[in-house]
Point group: D3
Chain length 295, copies 6
């Protein structure tokens, strides 16, 4: 069960309205790596968890915190939109670039659709979508997805921090950035524990039985481009990451010769695909007619 | 520049056609974590790279390999679809569950739209989309995204491996799984090197100046749910992950008291939002009329 | 702030697993009128509210309840997926319609992507999206949207009720249906109060100054089809709904003669649209060349 | 059958071109509540109707009128785009904010893709989509959806009215607003008639047999937030809306104690979900190997 | 203006219900190349036309006919869904593959969402979207798009014809296929006339002034793969198609040597992209701090 | 297999940065008719080809070239974004239209999400999607789709050419335009050869057996609008295009009388659709209860 309390975790009050910035801030509310994404991602991971206890407790906790961050951002955006003359004009916009500039910089749906309210979209107005989230049931895979989300998210908030000098906005972003710092640390720590305890290890999924025939393929860096420096990395030489017992990485400057492509397919003639020339029109037509007759 | 050679990196030939399995295999061709995603993700990261040399060389190389994997899967799917009577029926399907079963298990657009060919969609027929990829320009963030993609991808291929006993399909998947193993190792090794060399470290972005006022927030686990076991993890006690010099994690069993929500906003009356009751109809209407008169 | 408690509002436990039904139940979790939609819709309406007090309190309360319903459905779906052999097969599916049937009836991404967990998608696998919600800042418009959502939602749950005879599932749906009953009543009551108190009335927005020239258009039913029975309704005769002082509805059996279409447009030749024939190739080319020369 | 006549229902001619406003106007052409939505919504409701006669006649009629409104808006947008120098520049935009302003305020696809023509998208360039419409087969549910669409639509057009002072545009919008007034009245009248005649009543669907065990749940307002004013509404006290025979609404200041969450699920090990710690790696691996051996 | 008449252009009555086929038929109602696409495409082309007269008359006419085809298909689908026990079951589906087969083969949203009615989606349940259409303002480009739409559409209907043996369905499809034949001929004839009269010719747009420096690039087939047979086509030898005065096509067995890639970019440090190693942490941090200080 | 070489096919270097133009250029990178579309379209057509040899060789070759064009555009966009102060501001944007103009004209996700890098989206920020491509297995249909893509694509690049005066950008576009010229010629030549050799002819698919009953429908232009000039085209008179042996086109000034619509459907009462009035509430409820009892 979820409960709501009419308080915010931290102050979310701008010094003044700024509809252009409101649009930008939508990215971390409703974008690919915005707060709706992490709130939903951690919730679905909790509901998909297969063991009770600390990992699921962790997921439920952070999910609820992230919904609280969604609320802080939504509240902030509403205020940023409050006083701005969002698109309401006194003359034709076309002839007044000053106003066109404001219109262009804002999300016009903030005005037309939401009446100066926040929206579940990103900074380009793309609606948030369920395909942004990851919840596989495998905790090592998912905690890695979570770490990635927090890295990308903190990076975006840091960029947004530089795009305003409003002290109120910066205060809120400064707080959120430190929570993102915590969350980067948290998912990293949790992923490490999983591996140290042997609950899950890499390669994920570690319980899948390796195919002995292709073990070489798991330690070869094969160069499909022409940048020779790719040989210099720890992925192309030295002991295999996380599995030194498997030997050293190997560098292949180019792929081994491939295998011939299988012959093109020849499906049922009733799909009317273009087939070989010596399959004369008459023969194909006959086949179709026959097939048609049968059904 | 990209070049194409009419060979495959590895065999991609099923023992027999299986249109139902072809649909499932679409997930790792055109799904969120399919081969199109990683091919495009690594390409865009390479084009967004800010330094020449080994990391960009790495990205270009693996991007091209992943496009080659796209091709292996597409070729496999075409053959899986080849002989199956994909939806072509001799009687009303409704009265013959045997045929309905086949239809239900297949992607009907394989038949109707592609004429028994592969499609850039996932196993539910959702078209691949650009919002699946991540390319931020920050290599530590992006290599973490890449590691995540390879973990999720290998997990999905492993599940798919169990859903068929076709030796040809399993041979191809077995090879791809080991390449995914390599790619998990590779991105992990590359991310570690970035940190060891101090090029990028966590929290990402590490060059962002921390706000001294909120450092506490970067090491507190705050419980927003009621699962007490969340206190037992390495995210809630012991030295801060990756930054022991900042002290120990702290566990808060519940959030501190929040701050009051800011007052609701009152935008321009011409947005026709519902405002406070003592803002009488007459007054609001007057305001609108006045505004209307002005523009 | 949102808080989470590891309890459910009501039992959500099926008698037995049923992966086919799990897919159907996704509709009311992640579909257009599913629980995610109403939870997010009421949240955004609360964040967009312009007056403190009971209406906003109402929105925050029901939003949190709906998130709790999201959780009940997600929990139920996880269990429905638990024991089913979701796609894991012992032979080629193609040759065994029995298994193809199960595969066809299920959401294959439940297996491949979520490892037998719930997903933020509808019953056809379309991801939930932000464009499902409505939050305009005008409470009468939005409470009407809410009433609509609850009507459509209850209708869908009622249909789903008939598609299973699992006592555990039916018990949960029976409870949810009565909460939907309450919510239909609630939004209707709230919308009526807004009108009775004159806070908002129809037509929405009521503060917009009517255009005297077109008042006729606000009470004419104009028939654009040929079904004569359309004249028999209360929308085509008798006093104007909600505004008897404006007189009676009027029935027009067909639209009045229209006005001529404006002449087609002739934009800048550099858009290379096809223009009138007597605008010879030479003249157009000359215009383009001239424009090109200038910029 | 649909027929077309090269006339417009009302004048749609701007005083002058205004590409920035053209973009905004796209919202009510191709947005969530634009004219394409209502035209398609009423059409699909008509095709899904289960009784001949006045309700279906009504739907067919208004559907065709709404397609005529689509045409008026498209014609208007083409003219608004006609003379504007849509993105065609004589110098680098970057160094000339005047031109950047115009570009920013316009839909650049109007220029690049449509060559100064209207597009089936909203004001942020999101393509219109079929998931905007509602057609359930239940007329009371659908007429409520229609009323909602007309409320939201009129609200958006009213906002757009204030964003221009072009007399031609305002004349067209003034007319459309009165047609929206009519349509609000019409759907309200039709929904009332359905209820008065007992064809459909609330709660929808009214033929679904109520579950006696949960009747309480249909009249309790349960507060999941902390806003005490939610108790003051007609949804939390007094006779049940539309069903006084069922008694009075009840106010619960908080949910009753919930029920424990069911135990986490443990699906087939071949999904490689993370399971309980005492399920040792060896045991899980053995299970997988065994399963793998079997298929 | 559009008008509606309660008649169909041709019979649309199945012999019997078939919910599985109803789902398939959705492809040509609401798919990429379905009737909604062509109806909307021709409408938008008409509204974007820049000359009055026969081409625009043609577009308006066919647009209205295509809306009438939308109606035929929607009516047919409603009947195909009428009697089928769409998902309503007497036992758990999981244990009865016969019923699972039916469920799997159908669009479950036909039942849950539409109550056995047609929907604006394709055969996989993807909603129709505005990005399916093409309307550029250039008639030769657009008539080619129209020809393509009719070719793809007829191909899909032909495939669907073979997937049923219902005489009523086949009768309707047989009629639609001949209308598609007409429409293929029509757009081809219209495109030819444009070229014969010199209104538009290829390459589109023909008024764009060719760049003398790159004329060679307009007649070279450059092989980026290793299939030598590509040299045998009329695109790699003989006179240039449509412009013999420009000489003969040329075959290049491989691209000429390319040019070096430009150096990687180094944007503002406040984007926190990963930059060159010798750009020490200290220096980058200093730059950011400085930038931060400034704004 | 695909290989990558760190060279570009042609120079892609702007004279100076221009973030506003970078956004526009996204259209031909990631839009409906951008380079990603053609690269993926030709690839999927090659993988769906049913005959080895020159047509498949052609497809593979051009696919790889188009991926090389994707790279040129991505490289160009990165440089256009390099020096621009993309959204980084020294004051509140709201009060400085000069900066708002830049922000409005740019894709803000270029800054926030990609850190000044290219993205797989169009000029309005809509992500590229798999539904942009066409690959049917029928070469005449698909080569027509390809010709259309090159016509639309060249048209868009030509428009973009006029929107900048940067010599570096214009040089690259000039080259791409001539490659598009070649590709228009190439697909036209290939489509003609298919027809001349009788491999495929129109109407597509030509092997589908025509229905003798409806041959008239394949040569009648039926006017569904009121534009009389539609009679003047070669689609309404003279010999049938491509099939003079079938006689002359015919002009019908209006459709023949249609057929009556079938009666509305009456599905299972458990869908709770609104049915005929004389189907009393009692009777419907009884039916539902009975059905409910049964399952």
């Amino acid at each position: 069960m979820f409960f709501h309390k009419q308080e915010l975790q931290h102050h979310a009050k701008p010094e003044k309205a700024d509809a252009v910035y409101a649009r930008k801030l939508q990215e971390v509310l409703g974008g690919q790596y915005g707060e709706i994404t992490v709130a939903m991602q951690y919730s679905f991971q909790a509901w998909s968890a297969h063991i009770p206890g600390k990992y699921r407790d962790l997921l439920f906790s952070v999910a609820a915190e992230e919904f609280s961050h969604v609320e802080m951002l939504a509240t902030m955006i509403a205020q940023l939109l409050e006083k701005a003359p969002v698109g309401a004009v006194d003359g034709a916009v076309q002839s007044d670039p000053t106003i066109a500039a404001i219109v262009g910089g804002t999300d016009v749906q903030h005005a037309i659709v939401a009446g100066a309210g926040p929206r579940p979209v990103d900074s380009n107005g793309n609606p948030w979508q369920g395909s942004y989230i990851t919840a596989s049931g495998n905790l090592l895979a998912d905690f890695t997805a979570n770490a990635n989300a927090e890295l990308q998210g903190r990076l975006q908030v840091a960029r947004l921090y530089h795009m305003t000098d409003d002290k109120g906005v910066r205060d809120m972003l400064g707080f959120l950035i430190e929570r993102d710092t915590m969350h980067q640390r948290m998912w990293t720590a949790a992923a490490m524990e999983l591996q140290e305890k042997g609950i899950e290890t890499m390669p994920v999924p570690d319980k899948f039985p390796r195919d002995k025939n292709y073990l070489d393929a798991s330690k070869q860096f094969i160069n499909f481009s022409d940048g020779a420096n790719a040989a210099d990395g720890p992925w192309a030489q030295g002991p295999v990451t996380g599995a030194p017992e498997e030997g050293d990485f190997e560098y292949l400057p180019a792929p081994n010769p491939g295998v011939p492509m299988p012959a093109p397919t020849t499906p049922d003639p009733r799909f009317y695909g273009t087939t070989a020339k010596n399959d004369t029109v008459e023969k194909v037509t006959a086949k179709v007619k026959d097939a048609l007759h049968r059904g």
